[in-house]
Amino acid sequence: MSDIVIRVNGLSKKYRIGGRRESYRTLRDSLTGAFLSPFRRARRLLSGQPYGAAELDKTIWALKGISFEIKRGEVVGIIGRNGAGKTTLLKILSRITEPTEGYAEIRGRVGSLLEVGTGFHPELTGRENIYLNGAILGMKKAEIARKFDEIVEFAEIDKFIDTPVKHYSSGMYVRLAFAVAAHLEPEILLVDEVLAVGDASFQKKCLKKMDDVAKKGQTVLFVSHNMQGVKGLCTKGILLEKGDLKEIGEVGRVVDSYLMADINSCDMERIWESQEVAPGNDRIRLRRIRLIPETGDRSKLITTSTPVKVQADYWNLVANTKLILNLALYTIDGCIAFVSMTTEESNWHGRGFPKGLFRSVCYIPAHLLNEGIYRIRLLFLDDDAIHLYDNEEAMIFTVHDINDRGIKWYGRWQGILRPKLQWTTDYVEHL
């Protein structure tokens, strides 16, 4: 089995900092630039590098000379933190964007799925969108026609097939979009984090479909933050870290080293040495924010079964303020998981705080949070509910999933929270 279908050699990609959305510039900028150095600017414009001030801008290397090989039939999970270069790698392999250096050789028809429903048009009907989306994903018309019934059945939308998709519920929309994508049959499939959609039963179906795809001997590269999904589906893992290929090999080992690396590099603490540099205002300044996972061992991995203490140290700068600290926990999509306040504690609540440094600690029990990324917002109020200081992004942390569910289901557990509730089952009557 030395049948290599993807060979990546020294692949690098440079981006200009500031994000691609802001990187187009107005003609005026270029014209003013043109006055400064007319010939060089004109040559740049013609040569396809119309970045007027490119040499002034900072650049980042999203990928730094990575090399690897993938054999036919391998199902590879690409993991790493945000900004590690996972999506950039898929974009280069699917020819959406060019590498800055290095090359990749790909043997076989490539299908890429960086987003479900790319090119869906709200005004068109489900039927029309199936054809359009199929064509966009690289299917032939005849191929779409052949699989049409299967797609409609998979998406469970047969009654609405001739309704414009703008009238669809978001669930239907996603189901249809995924159904088209799932029927793509390239030799090499590149998938970016698309399992995070749909309801539980549909997810199950998608995972099964992915599993089938893998069993058929197609080569799959799969980017995901869902470690259980990666472990369950993939045979091989690639760990990227800040553009470098950190590790490649057996999936379980790579996932473990990712989780360990994640703990070590994760900022569990933010400290500001003096009031001058601390965030805040003339009422409140932050001194320190700290996450303390009560893991009981040396590992600091926050999992769904880890109790976590959130500690906030802050200076109160106006004497006799009746402070209330309000902690709001948000999911990565901006939903509030919960809000909790220092009104719960009895030492200081209701009393006027003198000037000085205070420490409030919130205890988040185990088996409450779901896996995923959470953001902590700290809002300081006085007892008239007047906002004194609001820090929208006091801390961001990741809760990992460990397989403590007792069932074979690798998708993301549904819901913002994942409390462990008490259950009983009784044998009520003999038959």
């Binding site: 396809g48 060019e98 043997r107 966009i136």
Partner: protein, 276 residues
Amino acid sequence: MSTGAPVITVKPSKGWIPLNLRDLWEYRELLYFLSWRDIKVRYKQTVLGAAWAIIQPFFTMVIFSLFFGKLAKVPSDGIPYPIFAYAALVPWHFFANGINQSANSLVGNANLIRKVYFPRLVVPLSSVISGVVDFVLAFAVLLGMMFFYDIYPTSNIIWLPLLLLLAFVTSLGVGLWLSALNVQFRDVFYIVPFLIQFWLFATPIAYPSSLLSEPWRTLFGINPMVGVVEGFRWALLDTDTTPGTIMVVSSLVAIVLLVGGAFYFKRLERSFADVV
């Protein structure tokens, strides 16, 4: 095991890039679907729908007839002014809409470009192609008007497809330049309406090119739309001024525009997904 499978090499491209028309041919079905989508969607939320394809050139013709024909008494090569103007406005609107749609096409399809690979030429190309349907509708009205004015085309009408092709090539040529520039400079969005308006008056639509004497008239053909418009009148209305040399000049300029535009587009193509 892997014999026969095509090997794609992804590597940084340098300098001028070959057009790779075979790749474009591979994606002809996508071209078809995108054109079809543009046509379908364009009039789906409008009350008058496809009637707009006729209303635009028709009412421009009415206004031109009033102001240029009646008031300013602009000559019209011995043909009733309304049909003189309309025969030029039909290909003109195809051209102008083609530029307009294609110039904004890459930006309008940004999410596709960021998420899927396909030859990017497909996008502006499909924009211009989708205008053919509008052209056919407006052209049907032109035939009706000819019948009304009792004008019958001569055998010159067989040149009409080639004249439409010339309008197509010009529109696509300009569209390729503008769409690629638009990705980098959103100013293009504001320039396009201005450009079209300017170009409208630089083309003998409201007036005949016979107002100019030679060699200026032939030189006028540097604007390829002069060739298209005079060609349409000659092929359909049998104006006696055979636009032979104009056509040659116009065709050459149009081809230069298209080829230059295609290479320029290709050159910028690699940065589209990162910048758009």
